[in-house]
């Protein structure tokens, strides 16, 4: 198209983490020509950070496990706000998706009889996580990456960022973006678009997420008219590093607790036994000895309270800190070294089971985790909410626009279980790619949409370049930091009406500031310019989080209101929806839950 470097695909996939790669492979398998746009280099996406494993009811370690148990665990973890059809599909299809990775070269750890080994994780009744030490994400992304590079139908655009989606009428017909190296604009014509852009961690100050996690997919979809769902549910992982300051937020895998790690306060008390929620009492050990046996594979033992859901563990840690029983840098202690009381060669065992954690603490904090406890505290980790999608096809409320992985909503409800994100991106990445390719095959030709695309691209280009034309203005990094501080302090783990209103007012003010940021230099590989462009999406997701959180006047899953500390099934059983209204302002509505079919209801009753 005149003026812009133009590429034409059947399916444009935005994001090349696990979900995007899996979607691209699936779309290509359907015969579609696929463009794969990724913000960084291929293979660097945030999926590499996933440590624990991929949850799939293979039943290799405990043959009592099957998709029904996995389904019930996922629904319970999500406080029953989950899209039950997604939870059902996910539990049913995850085993096949994990086995498929093995056929593509992934090497998971093994059981004694040579099958895929599975590990315990919070909220999963049986050992369920296929894993590779504590670097499962790297193994998965490399397997998908190495599988996709031989697929001639997939063209990869590395270090390319989408600025806007292009529409014709109400359907999506492509995207407009820029490549970082030279800063040139690119126009992608595509019959279908799959968003797989991950989460929103960079809206918060303390996060385990990388710089890329700026809610791009959510912002793009919202601006294209799509609905966002369950935005109040932000997961804070209970164990992030807290010292030194430069690594604050960096993830410490739940696998540490799965291998027997325990949480202690400054008085040396194992405080997690103090408060076990009623919903989980029958599944949780009531003494340390039983908990230890569980981590060592005793099928008759119940899990230790350290392996309760993440929202609960994070709040318990905050409670200890607020009560003055925290560690010197404002967290608590996570101790795996103690297992030397139980195991011979404990140090070697820890290094083999948790090699990255050993390495990370040794190198970044001078702590030897085989000898000393780790200082940890909660870190913003995952976004349960996101783009509202159809369970089967992953299509959003905008025709031609699909979403998969963390940027989509529904599977996890009010809280995600560890291990369910890696299986999520495989199952729904695959579905999104397949259905997008099918949609593209039946979609009308793009030629009729070219004039619309050109006009929208011109508009987007003009807006994108505006920060260069402002000679005197605030820097983009300052606005981003102010937003992170605002959200951390007012929309974090424990929320109140007043704080959330402060957040909303602050966001409005920051939006005005963002409109006046100025950047130096030229367009080639300019991080200042990039940050200026990210602000728009960050502000949309921050506003959506605060809006949905103000409205939910109860505590459920990851959303905890100090002013409404109890769960309220009378008014809380709904999914919150935000979308851009006709006047441009964000609009909120409650969507009642869809009634669950009797057979699924029965599974939940049986597993209680």
């Amino acid at each position: 198209m005149a003026g812009y470097e133009t590429h034409t695909y059947d399916v444009l996939v935005v994001g090349a983490g696990g979900a995007g790669l899996r979607a691209a492979i699936a779309a290509a398998a359907q015969g579609a020509r696929v463009g794969l746009v990724c913000k960084s280099l291929l293979g660097k996406a945030h999926t590499v950070m996933a440590e624990g494993g991929a949850a799939a009811a293979l039943g290799n370690v405990d043959d009592r496990d099957n998709w029904r148990v996995h389904f019930a665990d996922t629904m319970r973890g999500g406080a029953y706000l989950n899209n039950w059809r997604m939870a059902e599909l996910h539990a049913q299809e995850a085993p096949a998706r994990v086995r498929e990775l093995e056929a593509w070269g992934a090497l998971f750890d093994r059981t004694p009889d040579g099958r895929i080994l599975q590990r315990n994780f919070g909220g999963h009744r049986y050992p369920r996580l296929a894993h590779v030490g504590d670097r499962t994400g790297l193994e998965m992304i490399r397997t998908l990456q190495d599988h996709s590079v031989y697929e001639p139908k997939i063209s990869v655009h590395m270090e390319t960022t989408l600025i806007t989606l292009l529409r014709s009428g109400n359907r999506v017909v492509g995207g407009f973006g820029y490549e970082r190296e030279k800063g040139g604009f690119l126009l992608f014509r595509a019959k279908a678009v799959v968003l797989a852009t991950g989460g929103i961690g960079r809206a918060f100050q303390i996060t385990s997420n990388s710089w890329e996690y700026t809610g791009d997919g959510l912002g793009l979809a919202y601006r294209a008219g799509a609905e966002l769902m369950d935005m109040e549910f932000v997961q804070f992982h209970p164990t992030g590093m807290i010292w030194p300051p430069s690594v604050r937020g960096l993830l410490v895998t739940e696998g540490v607790r799965g291998e027997g790690g325990i949480l202690k306060n400054s008085e040396g008390r194992r405080f997690m036994f103090d408060n076990i929620p009623p919903l989980y009492q029958s599944h949780t050990a009531d003494n340390p000895e039983e908990g230890w046996r569980y981590t060592q594979g005793d099928k008759n033992a119940r899990r230790p309270p350290e392996l309760l859901t993440r929202d609960h563990v994070a709040r318990m840690i905050m409670r200890e800190v607020k009560a003055g029983r925290g560690s010197p840098h404002g967290g608590v202690y996570l101790d795996i070294a103690w297992i030397k009381e139980k195991l011979p060669n404990a140090a070697a065992h820890i290094q083999r089971k948790l090699p990255s954690m050993y390495h990370q603490f040794k190198q970044l904090a001078d702590v030897d985790i085989t000898e000393q406890p780790m200082e940890i505290g909660p870190t913003m980790h995952y976004m349960m909410g996101g783009i509202k999608v159809d369970a089967e096809s992953q299509m959003s409320t905008v025709p031609g626009l699909f979403a998969a992985g963390e940027c989509a909503a529904g599977l996890h409800g009010a809280n995600r279980l560890g291990g369910n994100s890696l299986s999520d991106l495989l199952v729904f990445g695959n579905r999104a790619g397949e259905y997008a390719a099918r949609y593209a095959a039946a979609a009308p030709p793009l030629e009729a949409a070219d004039a619309d695309m050109k006009a929208q691209a011109d508009q987007a280009a003009q807006e994108a370049l505006a920060p260069f034309s402002r000679s005197r203005g605030e820097g983009p990094f300052q606005v981003q930091q102010a937003l992170q501080e605002l959200m951390q302090n007012n929309a974090g783990i424990v929320r109140t009406q007043a704080e959330l209103e402060t957040a909303r007012a602050g966001i409005a003010e920051l939006r005005r500031r963002a409109e006046h940021v100025a950047v130096d230099g030229n367009r080639g590989y300019n991080p200042g310019w990039h940050t200026a462009l990210d602000l728009r999406n960050l502000l949309i997701v921050a506003e959506a989080v605060a809006t949905a959180a103000v409205q939910r006047q109860e505590s459920r899953g990851a959303h905890f209101r100090d002013d409404f500390p109890a769960k309220d099934d009378g008014q809380g059983l709904y999914n919150s929806i935000v979308a851009r209204g006709a006047g441009g302002a964000m609009e909120f509505r409650r969507q009642p839950l869809r009634p669950m079919p009797a057979e699924l209801q029965q599974i939940i009753e049986e597993m209680k």
Partner: protein, 274 residues
Amino acid sequence: MAQAMFRIWRGDARGGGFQDFTVQISDGMVVLDVVHQIQAEQANDLAVRWNCKAGKCGSCSAEINGHPKLMCMTRLSSLPLDRPVTVEPMRTFPLVRDLVTDVSWNYEVKKRIKPFQPRTPDAADGTWRMDQRDVDRVQEFRKCIECFLCQDVCHVLREHQLHREYIGPRFYVHTAALEMHPLDVANRLADLRGPGGLGYCNITKCCTKVCPEGIKITDNAIIPLKERVVDEFYDPVRRLFRIFRPKPQPPPAKGAPEAEPEPTRTAASSSAPR
């Protein structure tokens, strides 16, 4: 709060030079923190490539005081701060801007390596059985985060610029992971000896020294691959067997190609793609 001086390379393919920045430093900081601080406060457009800031993605490779390292894993406490700390882009790859280089050559090389090819599944349900010990042997190679520091430091690429006839340590590790994969049945030895340029590596172990994942690249990947190539192509008994074999057989799936004399190579005869 203490101060330190950082001397950071700035420029693009047309040219550039070092620029000095004075920064405030605090406990536990790494070099990438300093670069971010400069970016936020002094030079918004300072180009740097990074993602995870945890040594897991392999994006922030650079040369710090002349040593190839990940910026996110290099703590200031490990550097002498009484003199300026220099930070430069990797030299082996074409410069994009400031600390960012064009590493796309690596992605092209990978496409030329024969993909994973598993044996027929072991069980009726289409799955395989593997021993943990066999898996463990390959896991070392699969830890690779593709930071390309081994490629940066390898003299065959860095000094001799043999990018066209040599794939470099990263892809010997990749090939070793495939060749030693318990399920893989493809044979990559002829490719290693020919277009892979394995003969150029003279096992100086520079790659092993810079690997942030501690992979013993030379000892565990390159040398075993060299041994396999020698066994396959230069074993005198096999050679005799090939000479006296009645007539050439069609190569079996895992068979050896016809023996060829070792081609003579000179470093000067090639040119780099940059």
